[in-house]
Amino acid sequence: MRNRSRRFALLAALAAGALFAASGAAETTLLNVSYDPTREFYQELNVSFAKEWETRTGEKIAINQSHGGSGKQARSVIDGLEADVVTLALAYDIDMLAEKGLIPKNWQSRLPHNSCPYTSTMVLLVRKGNPKNIKDWSDLARPGVEVVTPNPKTSGAARWNYLSAWASGLEASGGDEAAARDFVARIYRNVKVLDTGARASTVTFVERGIGDVLVAWENEALLVVRKLNPDEFEIVIPSLSILAEPPVTVVDRVADKRGTRKIAEAYLEYLYAPFGQELAAKHYYRPRLEAVREEYAAQFPEVKLFTIDEVFGGWAKATAVHFSDGGMFDRIFEAGK
């Protein structure tokens, strides 16, 4: 009995040893905290940047990534998640970092194009053949159409969705706020599942077969149509949509403390460089670089785009009016029941 238990202990120790021996040698690490649909893009970018950095400086680095709803990710960084860089879905979430003193207030002017190396927009994804004949935002408010979109309280994509719908309501009514509110309320009454993140919504629509239309990032919709389920879905481009600008920044307080500022800055510059731009386009983000944009022109059709500043006066205002506690979104939902 004793002998057997000793042998067992030895075996367990060996197994544990094998399991823990795998931990690699100490190397510089960089943590990129990002939002939901960028997983595949950064996975590829990280590998090639690490290679590039090694040839450039001879230093071996490892880049870690963390993904989730944009608001939740920002919250984690505020609570102490040590992100050297953040690449989130919307500027408001990064503004929160500035408010807590993690980065300077002028963070958005530190990199070109408002610190947004790529853009996207919101489009409609429908089932093959478009059985409900969905052409534009107004069709989402039709009775009997089931809509899937994430929760604007937790998801960046959902905020862009909501604002696009609102702007389209404003345009249709010639700028009548009450009409826009009614329009958006009718759309959300058709929402069947309100997931917490953009990814979860896509899974609900694509895999679970819920809903007639998914309001999604253009990059997410293209991913579904081009890669995952080529023959089951089609993209509908609405008559008007928002210019979605997902910004990036170095988190100064963390990068300075960990001594990673140089790598972090090079990492973000790499996003603007031809290779990063090319990779962004390959993962269906609209690139900023002219040459890459022309190369991928067929992938990104012309959409009439507006910016959040034009229609809503910037994120701070839009958040206060629409997404704050007791704001427009809450009131729409409480009235809807």
Partner: protein, 275 residues
């Protein structure tokens, strides 16, 4: 009671360690929650707790947990009965399987149940024909909570049923009572305290459940948003005050339920015929 302090050693050590551990792991964190809640503006606290969205989440959490616990009450009694009284093939296996929800990670359970009960799943497909939707409706929440609470009633009722003396049933039968009558007049009252304990445990477990529910519920505010998810959402939108307020109220209610369980199990620990 066993305590004759002075004969057995180790009271100081055991008690000291217990209190130290509890203090570090429980009191300080819960204290931090209370402290945090105390800094919340009372008006804001009240507004958060009484907002219709919070109330809807409370209603769903308590309602779904209650329905699931009722389902588990009925089927738990049935299962305990069948497992204790009847013989059928693979009975031992089924008996062992009852504990699965204790051992299976809730996230795995959530994904499996959603895949199963979604409109295109193995079971959901057939229910859809009947016009019943489970996934992404309050019914889905009930299904997930039924799963996580399944073992409780079975496991509390089984030992009581096993130790039930045959004599009372024999007496009842010899006095001419039918089986149904014997069951409802004699057996059921004996099982009731244990069943109630199991029911309460299942209810308490269902209240706090998060992992399995978020996959299957659809997470619609006012409709299928459970309280733990609402706390999570409040956290994610930087609303610490709101999250703390809801968490504290929810915690207080759970604690009250726990006290009731303890009182109940104290009573059912001294039934007339066992010991």
């Amino acid at each position: 009671m066993s305590g004759r302090r002075g004969v057995l050693p180790g009271f100081g050590l055991a008690m000291g360690f217990t209190l130290w551990y509890l203090g570090l792991l429980l009191l300080i964190p819960v204290g931090a929650l209370v402290l945090k809640a105390a800094t919340v503006d009372p008006e804001k606290f009240a507004a958060t707790i009484t907002s219709s969205r919070t109330l809807a989440a409370f209603r769903l959490s308590f309602g779904a947990a209650l329905v699931a616990a009722c389902i588990n009450g009925v089927f738990g009694l049935l299962l305990a009965w069948v497992l204790e009284r009847y013989d059928f093939p693979l009975k031992r296996l089924v008996d062992g399987l009852v504990d699965l929800p204790f051992a299976l990670p809730t996230a795995v359970a959530g994904i499996a149940l959603t895949t199963l009960y979604a409109g295109n799943g193995w079971v959901g497909r057939h229910l859809a024909v009947l016009g019943i939707e489970v996934a992404y409706t309050p019914l889905g929440v009930v299904a997930a909570l039924t799963f996580v609470g399944l073992p409780f009633v079975v496991r509390t009722v089984q030992p009581v049923l096993r130790d039930l003396p045959a004599a009372i049933e024999e007496a009842s039968a010899s006095l001419g009572a039918g089986r149904l009558q014997t069951f409802f007049r004699l057996i059921f009252p004996e099982l009731l305290p244990a069943a109630v304990t199991g029911f309460t445990l299942a209810f308490a477990r269902g209240l706090g459940e998060y992992g399995s529910v978020i996959f299957i519920s659809g997470n619609m505010p006012m409709k299928t948003e459970i309280t733990p998810l609402l706390i999570m959402i409040k956290l994610e939108e930087y609303d610490y005050a709101g999250a703390t307020a809801i968490a504290l109220v929810f915690l207080a209610i759970s604690f009250a339920i726990l006290l009731v369980i303890n009182a109940l199990s104290l009573r059912s620990a001294h039934p007339v015929r066992r010991g």
